[in-house]
């Protein structure tokens, strides 16, 4: 007569427990919202964790100004639908300096608009805990990161000095100025995320589903021409191709894949039958072997 909890139910309960712990112990928490599928799942879990209360913290999007237009539309729709307390932060220093991926390259753009923008926002609002949607299965160096990950007042991560994390008892004590990045989806895999989206019918940005979209092929990646800020190189003509995105970020830095999968089940089917891991679509990861770890030490989420 025992009832076996399914793997999704166990993952869900774990994430909820983590979120409630932060709400109970942090002074000024925030949930980072990137509009992508992991963020959508995280937001859904947060609504479950505190029901019937509303989220006891704001949701923040660090906007690089180069996100897909459909992402911003979706953000507006979700904010209204769920009555979120949404903060949109843009690094105005970067805007003033005209930083962009085409003019400054992916490295500088990400550093200034994303990494520096995030630190700026955390300092500005004095957030002492920030939820992020990162998963341990995404990348090797993340496999060893804790669920509660501490950052110095300078937002640095020290992989050699992590607190042991046993059972589900989390040590949330910190000195003034220090902050915690909390990863409630640590133990989810990409497949879990998709299965959960399917099971719970969670709304998604349409970019995840295949549609005819204008793209150019550049450095082996299909880049969508999302607005007229994209400078076309000699001989480049945008072509309409049926494509979708496996991860979402800044449109010039996010490669599309050609696909026929125009609904959720088709996307999951395609994912299960295909054989490349999801981060491959991110231009930023290819920089150097230990690039993600280095970025994380510097404060990239």
């Amino acid at each position: 007569m025992t009832k076996t909890l399914t793997h999704l139910k166990r993952l869900e309960a774990e994430s909820i427990q983590i979120m409630r712990e932060v709400a109970a112990e942090a002074e000024n928490p925030v949930m980072l919202y990137s509009i992508g599928k992991d963020s959508s799942v995280m937001l859904h879990l947060a609504r479950k964790a505190f029901f019937p209360s509303k989220l006891p913290f704001p949701v923040m999007h660090v906007d690089t100004t180069w996100k897909f237009r459909e992402m911003i539309e979706f953000r507006t729709m979700i904010t209204e639908k769920y009555e979120l307390d949404l903060i949109v932060h843009i690094n105005q220093d970067g805007v003033k300096d005209g930083i962009g991926p085409f003019t400054h390259g992916s490295g500088v753009h990400t550093d200034v608009m994303k990494t520096a923008g995030l630190k700026q926002a955390l300092d500005k609002f004095g957030f002492d805990a920030a939820f992020g949607g990162a998963r341990r299965d995404e990348e090797k160096s993340r496999a060893k990161e804790r669920i509660f990950s501490f950052r110095s007042a300078q937002h640095r991560w020290d992989p050699k000095n992590q607190r042991p994390e046993l059972w589900d008892i989390y040590n949330t004590k910190k000195a003034p100025g220090e902050s915690i990045r909390v990863f409630p989806l640590s133990n989810w895999t990409e497949l879990d995320i998709w299965q959960y989206i399917h099971q719970e019918d969670i709304p998604m940005v349409p970019l995840y589903f295949a549609k005819e979209r204008p793209v150019v092929e550049r450095d082996g990646q299909l880049i969508m021409v999302d607005d007229d800020r994209m400078p076309l190189q000699d001989g480049e003509v945008p072509m309409m191709k049926k494509v979708r995105f496996r991860t979402l970020g800044c449109y010039p830095l996010t490669g599309a894949v050609e696909s026929e999968a125009d609904c959720l089940t088709d996307v999951i089917q395609e994912m299960l039958l295909t054989s490349t891991s999801e981060r491959q679509g991110r231009v930023i990861d290819h920089d150097a072997a230990a690039s993600m770890e280095k970025k994380k030490q510097e404060g990239y989420f």
Binding site: T2, K3, T4, L5, T6, H7, L8, K9, R10, E12, I16, Q17, R20, E21, A24, R47, K48, A49, F50, F51, P52, S53, K54, R136, D137, K140, S141, A143, K144, K160, Q162, R163, P164, E165, L166, W167, D168, I169, N171, K173, K174, A175, S186, N187, T189, Q195, H198, Q199, T265, D266, I268, Q269, L272, L273, S275, T276, S277, A290, E293, K294
Partner: protein
């Protein structure tokens, strides 16, 4: 092939439906790199198709560059992580890996096998349902096998898989397997394991990992993957008594008051009679609220919100339990502690303890003995070092609801947090409550502290002088006492001379003894303050934690920290007792400022230096402070 690719291609909806019924198993793998542990995990990921082609091509190129398998794929590289570790060629932390089959999702805690890493294995084991112990078939049982089994049992793991690896190197011999199996079962008989399954494998060649091995037709048991898929877990937790530690009080408006938490064990139904602890207030479950609708019943592992029929006082950290089978309530325990910090554990030093959802101050009152992880022998000890395990008694600031750890992991575990650095320095598992907590009752007397103080026309306090040896603490304290005496105040000085020769004559100068020295002085000072005295203490008291401990013993405003900040060179030059000379000559060990640290106060109440001021001038400053803050008038000043 572990995922049914035909069903994925033909009927994705049916596939997804089936996937939603999957269960989950968390396990740890124990063994050293030499046992082929990383290879085994890499093989499980590879065979369950959790490796994508781009990772595989990276793996192939890495294997040629860094691998140890010649031209063959080195699976170990798959589970390698941080750059620093990659350079050292060794796993130095806990890493979590994921794979799934059609029946189960698996979370693997990959923990290293080296001696100094007890802390990492304990971390991985704390959330695991099962442990896979790797044994090299050529070596048989080693010291590390004993160590891993002991830690697994300590952390409450009930199911063991003994994976006897490298069977290919012993000609797939059945005798090798049966010998190891017999030896292990005999060794592990007292560990309380519910199941032990011995499986002969070759991680490198894939024998008995996913598919039954053709090389070992004599083996009739399940393959590793099959056993991982089929072993039942989690039932015991559900049939245990109901416990839910309250994590968050859910109060969206005046009409709704719910208690959110994750059910630690057992089952709860609407209408159940419950008891909240430690208050022992009772009520009835009115509803079980979730985002997906109200439930009639909820079980261990579910995150829910309980609404009760009565308005009883419950806050975060309280435990809701069934009325008839509540947990015990106590503030003193015997527990097993695993120490995880470079700074040793010292009995008497105050720490923070965090149990399920509750943080409270407390201390380790006694270290009864430590346990050798290799031999399980008990040895006497005064302190615990990194990676050591001790049987301790602990005393908490207030009472908590708990269960013995071997009955309930969730309500029997705690972590220990350093009050200064905020890091997690140790973890513990409660064995039982100590009864003496309920036997000591303070006599409530009519003549109390304020009555005594009033009679003496003063506000009692401790002037805690801290500073290096020879800094002038005692000299200044003497001047201050003379002045106060002259004003008709009631005073006393506690210093090394009148304490070390009597009360503390059994103590030396190790860190542990220094902590105990200060603890006793603090307690004596507290009694003196209670009697209405102005107390001056003159001790080097080099550690922040101990000064903080005394501070916390006393009421607000009763602890005045006086930092006698005289530079080391000046003290060494003065050397009134000739101690610096001896210490520099190596005749005195653990000398503060030389081979033992002095942690200067950051926010002393009074800061003086005999480098620039005379003892008389320092005393002026202190008397002025006492006057300004109302210590020298009967009602505590204006």
């Amino acid at each position: 092939m572990s995922h049914q690719s035909d069903l994925i291609a033909d009927d994705i909806e049916a596939y997804l439906k089936a996937q939603e019924e999957k269960s989950m198993l968390r396990f740890i793998t124990c063994g050293s790199v030499d046992d082929g542990k990383s290879t085994l995990i890499g093989r499980l990921l590879y065979d369950s198709k959790m490796i994508f082609e781009d990772q595989l091509s990276a793996l192939e190129s890495d294997s040629k560059r860094l691998g140890t398998q010649g031209e063959e794929i080195d699976f170990a590289l798959l589970v390698d992580g941080l750059a620093a570790e990659r350079e050292q060629g060794i796993t130095i932390d806990v890493a979590y890996r994921f794979f799934s089959t059609d029946k189960r999702k698996f979370i693997v805690a990959d923990t290293p096998g080296h001696e100094q890493y007890t802390r990492n294995m304990a971390t991985g084991a704390s959330t695991a349902d099962l442990a896979v112990l790797l044994i090299d078939a050529r070596q048989g049982m080693l010291t590390q096998t004993r160590r891993h089994s002991f830690i697994a049992s300590l952390l409450g793991i009930k199911n063991i898989i003994l994976a006897v690896n490298k069977m290919d190197l012993v000609d797939y011999s059945q005798k090798v397997l049966t010998d190891i199996d017999a030896e292990y079962r005999d060794f592990a008989k007292d560990f309380g394991f519910r199941s032990i399954m011995t499986i002969p494998v070759s991680a490198l060649k894939g024998d008995n990992i996913l598919n039954a091995s053709d090389n070992m037709p004599w083996y009739e048991g399940p393959t590793l993957m099959r056993h991982l898929e089929d072993i039942p877990v989690g039932d015991a937790r559900q049939t245990a008594d109901f416990r839910m530690p309250v994590q968050w009080v859910n109060r969206p408006n005046l009409d709704f008051r719910g208690f959110s938490g994750t059910i630690a064990s057992g089952t709860v139904r609407v209408g159940d009679r419950i008891k909240a602890l430690p208050s022992a207030n009772e009520s009835t479950v009115k509803s079980i609220v979730t985002y997906d609708g109200e439930l009639e019943e909820a079980v261990a592992g579910e995150a829910i919100t309980l609404c009760l029929a009565d308005e009883i006082d419950i806050s975060r950290g309280d435990v809701i339990a069934g009325k008839d089978n509540p947990p015990e309530v106590a503030d003193q325990f015997e527990a097993k502690i695993i120490w995880m910090s470079d700074d040793q554990m010292l009995p008497g030093r105050p720490y923070l303890f965090k149990t399920a959802n509750k943080m409270l101050p407390g201390l380790v009152t006694d270290l009864k003995h430590k346990v050798n992880v290799n031999t399980m022998e008990h040895t006497a000890a005064k302190q615990l070092e990194l990676n050591e395990i001790g049987i301790c008694t602990i005393a908490l600031d207030s009472r908590i609801a708990f269960d013995p750890y071997n009955m309930n992991r969730e309500t029997g575990s705690f972590i220990i947090i350093d009050r200064i650095t905020n890091t997690t320095v140790g973890v513990g598992m409660i064995d039982y409550a100590l009864r003496r907590a309920s036997n000591i009752h303070w006599q409530a007397l009519d003549v109390d502290k304020s009555a005594r103080a009033e009679m003496k026309l003063q506000r009692p306090a401790v002037l805690w002088f801290t500073g290096l040896s020879g800094s002038g603490k005692s000299t200044i304290a003497n001047v201050v006492e003379k002045r106060l005496f002259a004003r008709g105040r009631h005073t006393y000085i506690l210093d090394g001379d009148n304490v070390r020769h009597g009360l503390n004559q059994d103590l030396g100068f190790t860190d542990a003894d220094r902590v105990e020295n200060i603890r006793r002085v603090g307690e004596v000072a507290k009694l003196m303050v209670d009697s209405g005295l102005m107390v001056m203490t003159s001790f080097i008291s080099p550690f922040k934690a101990e000064r903080r401990m005394v501070h916390d013993l006393l009421d607000d405003g009763e602890f005045i920290e006086v930092y006698v900040d005289t530079p080391f060179e000046v003290c060494a030059e003065r050397d009134p007792k000739g101690l610096y000379k001896k210490a520099k000559a190596g005749e005195l060990k653990n000398f503060t400022g030389l081979d033992s640290p002095y942690e200067a106060p950051e926010r002393a109440d009074i800061h003086v230096s005999t480098d620039t001021l005379s003892a008389e001038e320092c005393a002026d400053t202190i008397i002025q402070y006492l006057e300004d803050n109302g210590y020298l008038s009967a009602n505590g000043g204006s």
